[in-house]
């Protein structure tokens, strides 16, 4: 091999930006779940006890800081808020954020560039009308800019959805920009579409997504729900607290997700998962539906979802089916 033909060491293949985003998101989730580790010294047991007390105090502090009731964050530095099993709310500056369960948000109160980074989960953002810089919410590759509105951003892995209750929101996603108005939603599955979702009018007809840039239809009230974001609370004329369990709404949501399965199984699966995070009679059904659909789509997470279902609902209505499906999946992998 001559010098000219020298190959050199094999190149280090870079990870994609999406892979890095995944690594970072999962890393922080693991850090959140990890029990603080005390330094290894001879007084390890004492330190372990102290560590446990500190950890417990930290949990109490987080719970107190994120309880419903709109506590405010006075510190100007970025703050990270993590909700537990129940919804939580927090105010900072002129923004009020209501976090769904198991949601993490990092908020910066920089007056020049107020922003929130949605690490995982979903949250409603209520932003008072602003004259200065727009408020920005970042959820993965999705960037939402607002000047005064109430809207919701949900994120599951690389997928994001945005719902607007009132006001105007600009959604930017990998070079695509869409402007959403009141009662419209958007999904990263169809980044160039804005979908009208006035859930107050629960009509069963499926909705044809309308382009945001197209002129409005002739009918002034053609609003038909398209069920992309199934856990939307009922629309109210004024700013409302987070959605409370509503079996009727959940049933409607579930039925529409079933319809959506044919057209957009990915969105339906994400919707089932969102629905399964709520409390109520449809939680169990939605979780099993998500697992079943994931299995249909041969997604690796199907088995994990079935195991979660069986852990949460060992005697659920679909428990036998879940066990059978799980055994079937295991058999396939052998």
């Amino acid at each position: 091999m001559t010098d000219q033909e020298r190959l050199g060491p094999p190149p280090v293949e870079p990870l994609s930006d999406i892979a890095w985003a995944r690594v970072e998101r999962e890393l922080w989730a693991r850090v959140d779940d990890a029990v603080p580790v005390a330094p290894r010294t001879r007084t390890r047991s004492w330190i372990a006890i102290t560590g446990s007390i500190v950890a417990a105090a930290a949990v109490v502090a987080i719970v107190l800081a994120t309880r419903s009731g709109g506590d405010s964050l006075d510190d100007a530095s970025p703050a990270r808020v993590v909700s537990g099993a129940a919804p939580s709310s927090v105010s900072f500056g002129d923004a009020h954020v209501t976090l769904d369960p198991e949601t993490a948000v990092v908020m910066s109160r920089d007056t020049d560039a107020p922003s929130a980074l949605l690490e995982r989960g979903a949250a409603w953002f209520t932003i008072a009308p602003r004259s200065g810089a727009p408020f920005v919410v970042v959820a993965g590759d999705t960037i939402v800019r607002v000047v005064g509105t109430r809207f919701r951003v949900a994120r599951y892995l690389e997928r994001a959805t945005v719902e607007v209750e009132h006001g105007l929101v600009e959604v930017q996603f990998r070079g695509t920009k869409v402007v959403l108005g009141a009662d419209q939603s958007w999904s990263s599955d169809h980044p160039s579409d804005a979908i009208t979702t006035k859930l107050a009018q629960r009509e069963p007809d499926p909705v044809v997504p309308a382009r945001a840039s197209e002129p409005p239809p002739e009918d002034p009230t053609p609003l038909r729900p398209a069920i992309v974001t199934p856990d939307s609370p009922p629309r109210k004329p004024k700013l409302a607290p987070p959605a409370t369990p509503d079996p009727d709404l959940d049933r409607v949501t579930f039925e529409r997700l079933q319809t959506l399965e044919v057209r957009d199984p990915g969105a339906a699966l994400a919707g089932y998962l969102e629905l399964s995070k709520r409390t109520g009679p449809w939680t169990e059904v939605a979780l099993f539906a998500a697992a079943r659909l994931a299995a249909d789509r041969r997604e690796p997470r199907a088995a994990a979802l079935l195991n979660i279902y069986l852990t949460r609902f060992p005697r659920g209505k679909n428990a036998d089916d879940a066990r059978e499906l799980l055994a079937h999946l295991k058999g396939e992998h052998r």
Partner: protein
């Protein structure tokens, strides 16, 4: 902070401006205390170096997303023990090397077909050369899969990555003599395995020619 292919030695660290070392110590202290901002800064400043070390030892990005997380979990857990004897970057790479060792020791990962890895061909790159190098790398890592984990790591860092033996010794938490011995044994084993593989044989000869 960008990744340095050859991090400074312990002596160089001692002579670093106090501010750099103090910055490392301060960052480690804040991150160890659970300051998420500091943890993010640490992650973003060291992720390339950690990825580089893991990739060099394991030969592909397969499983690397999980291993990078494992490495940073260990880094965050161990930050309280960072005393500034080396740079924070090298300290992180030492932990990454330990993670790689544990991974190789616990199980034999199947050799990854590099052809399955997404190509990122820079503009103007010599495609023919790239294909050659990938094929040679595939054969090299297939052979490395079959040798002792410590020998593999020493060979990957010293010969493939071209790091000085002293640095490899530090990253692998062993002596220079031990590293030399491992590299020698790895080379001997690899040459034996390459006796019927001209591509691998010539690639090994080339890599060893560039060894420091």
């Amino acid at each position: 902070m960008t990744f340095r292919r050859v991090p400074p030695t312990r002596e160089e660290v001692a002579s670093l401006p106090a501010t750099a070392r103090e910055h490392d110590l301060d960052l480690a202290r804040r991150a160890a205390a659970g300051d998420r901002g500091a943890q993010r800064e640490l992650f973003h400043s060291q992720r390339a170096a950690v990825h580089h070390a893991l990739f060099r030892i394991l030969g592909s990005n397969r499983e690397l997303e999980d291993l990078i997380q494992d490495a940073f979990m260990e880094i965050f857990r161990g930050l309280h023990s960072f005393r500034g004897d080396s740079t924070l970057g090298r300290w992180c790479q030492t932990i990454a090397t330990r993670i790689a060792y544990l991974t190789i020791s616990r199980r034999r990962p199947p050799t990854v077909e590099l052809s399955l890895v997404e190509d990122r061909i820079a503009d103007g790159a010599d495609t023919r050369r790239l294909v050659q190098i990938r094929e040679a790398a595939r054969r090299l890592y297939a052979a490395l899969d079959r040798i002792d984990a410590k020998q593999r790591i020493a060979f990957a860092l010293a010969v493939i990555d071209g790091r000085p033996l002293a640095e490899v010794a530090q990253l692998t938490e062993s002596s220079v003599v031990a590293v030399k011995t491992r590299v020698w044994r790895a080379r001997k084993d690899l040459m034996k395995r390459a006796s019927k593989d001209d591509v691998l044989s010539s690639y090994l000869a080339e890599l060893q020619g560039g060894e420091r």
